[in-house]
């Protein structure tokens, strides 16, 4: 029984190695595409800065406050700020060359300071944005709010514009009759206090600053396997692409069985005194070996070229790879069992695979999916494969974190295998 089993497994591997198209699809294609996706997803997380959001600022005010805002925005690490004319800024957003443009209107500084202590109409900063980059608009708007508050309040408490506006407000309070006398007195006291504060020359000596400042700072830390290990975008990309293209190998396994039937080879196999276990088992073993080796080849390339390491448990990584390889083999068998002819089956199988891969998070990270979709994808074996690979690579988790992905993939393998055996057409056509 071992001799035919070994011969059938060897034959499948031999056929794979002689098929340049299969080699190309299984090894070269995932490496090439994963390299691209990995780079796009932030690369190896080396010392290089993350890509900045391009922002154009049209300063129609051209005054102290607007200059201050521009200066502060320019110092934001996440932004690449350039001054521009209003029309140019709008045109650039429309073309998609920048995601966000900020237009500071004329007299913004004066109006903003005035609006600080009165209910007068607030000046309006226009934030133009590319609707396909809505998330970037939200980021820029948040930074802009903080910067405007700091610049305007500083000007309010010490700047020339602030002093003039304060004097104006004090004059209005002293001469105005629209407030009841006690309230007017309180307002005058407040404004005079601010005026005295503004005139105090030694504010900085006491560690105080004029105006409002941000009441906190942040410390950013990417949490990975351990300190000093950065997130490697290639780890996700290689996991995703290895899963996708190894599943394509699974399709080839199924189509190969259908072709065997079409070419009469199945008759030769069935005519021999071989059990069904030997016939299908050999196919599962050969497909699993090939899938396992291809996964390892992909990650070996990622390790050598992009520094993707198995930061977690190596045994866990190998276990996830083996479970995924078995699931792929069973998937191939299921395709052979459900398919009628190779041509008709191939298209449908590719479509089904692409859905599995897409919903498994192979193309884009799962966190970009809506919450409900993230919950739905637990029924995708591909999701568990990718989760497992990520857990064992850049997340650096231990063997226990590989157990659930392994168990679920083996469960899917069993399910696919049982379905395949139940639906398999054992008889050769007469």
């Amino acid at each position: 029984m071992i001799t035919p089993l070994r011969a059938l497994v060897r034959k499948d591997i031999q056929l794979f190695l002689t098929d340049r198209r299969a080699l190309m699809m299984s090894v070269i294609a995932p490496i090439a595409i994963a390299s691209f996706f990995g780079y796009a997803l932030g690369g190896a997380g080396s010392q290089s800065e993350p890509s900045r959001i391009s922002v154009l600022v049209a300063d129609q005010d051209d005054d102290t406050i607007s200059h201050g805002i521009l200066q502060r925005l320019s110092s934001e690490k996440a932004l690449a700020v350039k001054p521009a004319g209003t029309d140019d800024a709008r045109a650039a957003v429309r073309k998609g060359t920048v995601s966000v443009a900020i237009i500071i209107p004329p007299h913004f500084g004066q109006d903003a300071v005035r609006a600080f202590f009165s209910a007068s109409q607030k000046p309006q900063i226009a934030v133009l944005y590319d609707p396909s980059h809505a998330a970037e608009r939200a980021m820029v708007q948040g930074m802009l709010t903080g910067d405007v508050m700091q610049v305007v309040s500083q000007e309010m408490f010490g700047g020339a514009t602030g002093r003039a506006t304060l004097k104006e407000a004090l004059d209005r309070a002293e001469t105005g009759q629209d407030l009841p006398a006690p309230d007017r007195k309180s307002l005058i006291n407040l404004l005079q206090s601010v005026q005295r504060w503004n005139d105090t020359p030694s504010v900085a000596n006491y560690g105080l600053s004029r105006g409002l400042t941000m009441p906190y700072t942040t410390h950013e830390e990417a949490v990975t396997s351990r300190q000093g290990i950065r997130y490697n975008g290639y780890a996700h990309a290689f996991a995703g692409m290895a899963v996708q293209f190894v599943l394509f190998l699974g399709i080839d396994v199924g189509i190969g069985l259908l072709l065997q039937r079409q070419r009469g080879l199945w008759k030769r196999f069935r005519a021999a005194p071989l059990s069904r276990v030997t016939l299908l088992g050999s196919r599962i073993i050969s497909a699993a070996i090939l899938a396992f080796v291809i996964v390892l080849a992909n990650f070996l390339f990622a390790r050598l070229v992009f520094g993707v390491r198995v930061e977690g448990s190596m045994a866990g990584f190998l276990g996830v790879s083996a479970a995924f390889a078995l699931m792929t083999a069973a998937f191939g068998l299921l395709i052979a069992a459900l398919g009628k002819t190779p041509d008709a089956t191939r298209g449908l199988a590719i479509l089904a695979t692409l859905f599995m891969v897409m919903l498994g998070g192979a193309w884009v990270p799962m966190f970009l999916f809506p919450q409900w979709l993230q919950q739905v994808t637990v029924v995708m074996p591909t999701r568990w494969a990718i989760d497992g690979f990520e857990a064992m690579t850049w997340r650096g988790l231990g063997f226990s974190a590989a157990l659930v992905p392994m168990a679920l993939q083996l469960l899917f393998a069993l399910l696919f295998g049982l379905l395949a055996v139940a639906r398999f057409r054992w008889e050769a056509e007469g």
Partner: protein
């Protein structure tokens, strides 16, 4: 050696085989003859264990064949109608794989492969990929692949489909060699000349049923006539009376189509001069005369009323 009893197989409403029984003894070549769709391949597939019959049984040396792993399967070699080979592998790799299916280890397979390749004349192409072979060479390799485990019974399902006459002759030579070695051959075909050349006995099958099973000599007795005389007249022969012609002593049948007479006679030597003289006497001179022996085609026509290749 091989006995088939009352095989039945249907696919839904389609009855593929309806009670086929046949026997083939050691060293005997039995032709399974019938038009496309007659049930030949289904019968062979059941004998080879590829299909499970709805009823009936297959006995190999008196033992019923049952189950996927029945060791009796080793007694059978199947040459499928398709070229069941891996084009991407070499002839050697193909044969070693097929030998391994019968549990032959490398050391056991090596002489078997050499012998099979030698028989089919492909020893010099052993390391070439099958995709570089001609159709005829692939057919011969297809035959070799069935011989590796030295089966006693060889099931050949139209093994010469689509090959040139030279390759066909080479395959016939191979089969005659195997016959001389005492192998039992069951040969399905719809080519009369193949059955006539190779077979000791012919089983004619139509619509899934055996309609004749006899030696060639025995089948010839089923024929209403044994010879056909074809006479090309100089005229259209419109005034010729076929009834008068058929009234001549040993004339069994007479047909006229476009100035050509086809006449069935029992004995060519005595009847030909009489018929020709009869035609001349009645003013129907002839241009050309051809005589031919009646063949299995005629038998099939007689038994079913249809031509084999038109079926």
């Amino acid at each position: 050696m091989l006995e088939v009893r009352g095989l039945k197989k249907s696919y839904g409403n389609l009855v593929a085989v309806a009670g086929v029984s046949l026997k083939a003894g050691a060293g005997e070549t039995v032709g399974l003859l019938g038009p496309n769709g007659a049930g030949k391949t289904t019968t062979v597939s059941i004998i080879a264990g590829l299909l499970v019959p709805d009823a009936g049984e297959v006995l190999i040396e008196g033992r019923p064949l049952s189950g996927d792993t029945d060791p009796t399967k080793r007694r059978i070699g199947l040459v499928p109608q398709d070229l069941a080979l891996y084009d991407e592998l070499t002839a050697l790799d193909n044969l070693h794989l097929f030998a391994a299916l019968y549990d032959l280890t490398n050391s056991q397979a090596r002489p078997a492969v050499e012998s099979a390749l030698d028989l089919v004349g492909l020893s010099d192409r052993v390391h070439d990929r099958v995709k570089t072979f001609s159709g005829g060479m692939k057919r011969r390799l297809n035959l070799a692949a069935a011989l590796l485990h030295d089966p006693q019974i060889l099931l050949l399902d139209e093994p010469t489909v689509g090959v040139d006459p030279q390759s066909r002759n080479a395959i016939f030579d191979n089969l005659e060699t195997l016959k001389k070695r005492g192998k039992t051959l069951l040969y399905t075909t719809h080519y009369m000349e193949e059955a006539e050349r190779l077979c000791d006995r012919v089983v004619i099958i139509d619509h899934g049923k055996v309609i004749a099973d006899d030696t060639l000599r025995g089948l010839s007795r089923l024929m209403p006539l044994s010879n056909v005389l074809t006479i090309e007249l100089e005229s259209a022969g419109d005034s010729l009376s076929l009834d008068q012609l058929q009234a001549l002593g040993e004339v069994r049948s007479a047909q006229l189509h476009g100035g050509t007479l086809r006449i069935g006679v029992r004995d060519l030597a005595t009847e030909t001069p009489r018929i020709l003289q009869w035609l001349v006497d009645r003013g129907h001179p002839y241009r050309h005369v051809v005589s031919e022996r009646a063949d299995l085609e005629t038998v099939f026509l007689t038994l079913t009323g249809r031509s084999l290749r038109d079926s």
